[in-house]
Amino acid sequence: MKCKKYEEKIILHLYGELDEKEKSELEKHINECPECSRDFAYTKKVFKALEKSKKEIPEANWEKCWSEIDAGAQKKPVPQRNFFFFTRWAYAAAALLLVFVLGAIIGRFLFPPGQQAQNEQGLSAGSIQFALQEYFEELKPVLVEYANFTSSEKGEETILMDKEVARDLLIQNILLKSIVTKTDPTLAQLLDDVDIVLKEISNLKKEDRQTPSLIKELIQEREILFKMEILQKI
């Protein structure tokens, strides 16, 4: 059985991340432990293989890139909620509504009373919808707060509280995502976006002033609140 502690240290050593004391402790252990010594030799081979497999980075067309950036930075950002975006969501909303209505009608004829269609996890469409509504109710205030964030706000206590809330929501988000992934890709995509935001919040540090602005940008760019609103209404 390899010594777990040293297995990690071997990798850090090969990356040059150990200080002198840690290095000599590791070397001493490798000399005494045949299994770690074998692991060290094998890890070195893996590092050599990784080194050899490095592809050369090609040269980019820097001038072309710069002129695109220069032009792009001068332009005002295109409003995210444009006509095509709205119609796409409106179509999606209409299609979903139609599926629900048809499902309800067909369900009444095909299944005897009390017996409802269930998904793979044994949850009915109704209970998923209910869970989703409940989840959005909890999620919305957190997102709204970050969407309206201004630089002077967040104190240490608030951040700690946000992190805790975000972690709880993250668990719910993962569960819901696993339920709807196969049946509703649009919703799964939205939950994916929420996942990124919640992870950012749960990794926030009190001294970090930039991340809340990035979170704000993320929520706005991906239209998360707008999409949630539409899904809540159908």
Binding site: E7, E8, I11, L12, Y15, E17, Y42, T43, K45, V46, K48, A49, L50, E51, K52, S53, K54, K55, I57, P58, A60, N61, W62, K64, C65, W66, E68, I69, D70, G72, A73, P77, S151, D192, N203, L204, K205, D208, R209, Q210, T211, S213, L214, E217, L218
Partner: protein, 194 residues
């Protein structure tokens, strides 16, 4: 000129200052995007998207707190890379198949064909393993292995603890060790030649 002064000028819309920031950081963002996408055109797109986003939100960057521009830009670059790959997932999958076909049909005429084939297998295995890693493990592995940042710098770039970076890096390298085992320990493969 000090970075702080350059950023202040760029915040006021000075294009020369913007160009200076681009020149200082372009290689790092491009190689990060290239390692992530394995495609030069995609990497150029990500580079452009990263700088455009950064310049548009440059007014929010706080120079006073001693924040460094490079980690901030790199975080935008990381988000852009993850996003870009997700947006173009289907196309990327097709490209990967084409790349594999290309790799299978091309070889270096000067080298031993047996070694070339092993190299190709190893490279393919490394790419496959990279794609199996979680988003964060993949980016940490790229930043450490290809960009050669220290774990401390990576922690700063990703806004997480150094301990967590070390753990994720350990997991990523362990995955490489497991997946490359068969190929590396095969008798035919001469390690001193790699």
């Amino acid at each position: 000129m000090k970075e702080e002064a350059v950023i202040r000028q760029a915040q006021e819309g000075n294009r020369e200052a913007m160009r200076l920031l681009f020149e200082e950081n372009k290689q790092r963002i491009f190689s990060l995007a290239y390692q992530y996408t394995k495609n030069a055109e995609d990497a150029e797109d990500i580079l452009q998207e990263t700088f455009i986003k950064a310049y548009r939100s440059l007014h929010r960057f706080n120079v006073q707190d001693g924040n460094s521009f490079s980690p901030w830009l790199c975080r935008i670059g990381i988000n852009c890379s993850i996003d870009y790959l997700r947006r173009n997932k289907t196309r990327k999958e097709k490209d990967m198949i084409m790349n594999n076909i290309e790799n299978l049909t091309s070889y270096d005429k000067n080298s031993n064909p047996e070694n070339t084939s092993v190299q190709r297998d190893i490279r393919e295995k490394i790419d496959q393993t990279l794609n199996k890693l979680s988003g964060q493990q993949k980016i940490i592995f790229i930043l450490k292995h290809y960009q050669q940042l220290t774990t401390k710098e990576i922690a700063e770039y990703l806004n997480c603890s150094e301990g967590s970076v070390k753990k994720q890096l350990f997991r990523a390298v362990s995955a490489m060790k497991i997946h490359l085992k068969g190929l590396i320990l095969e008798n035919k493969y001469e390690m001193q030649k790699i």
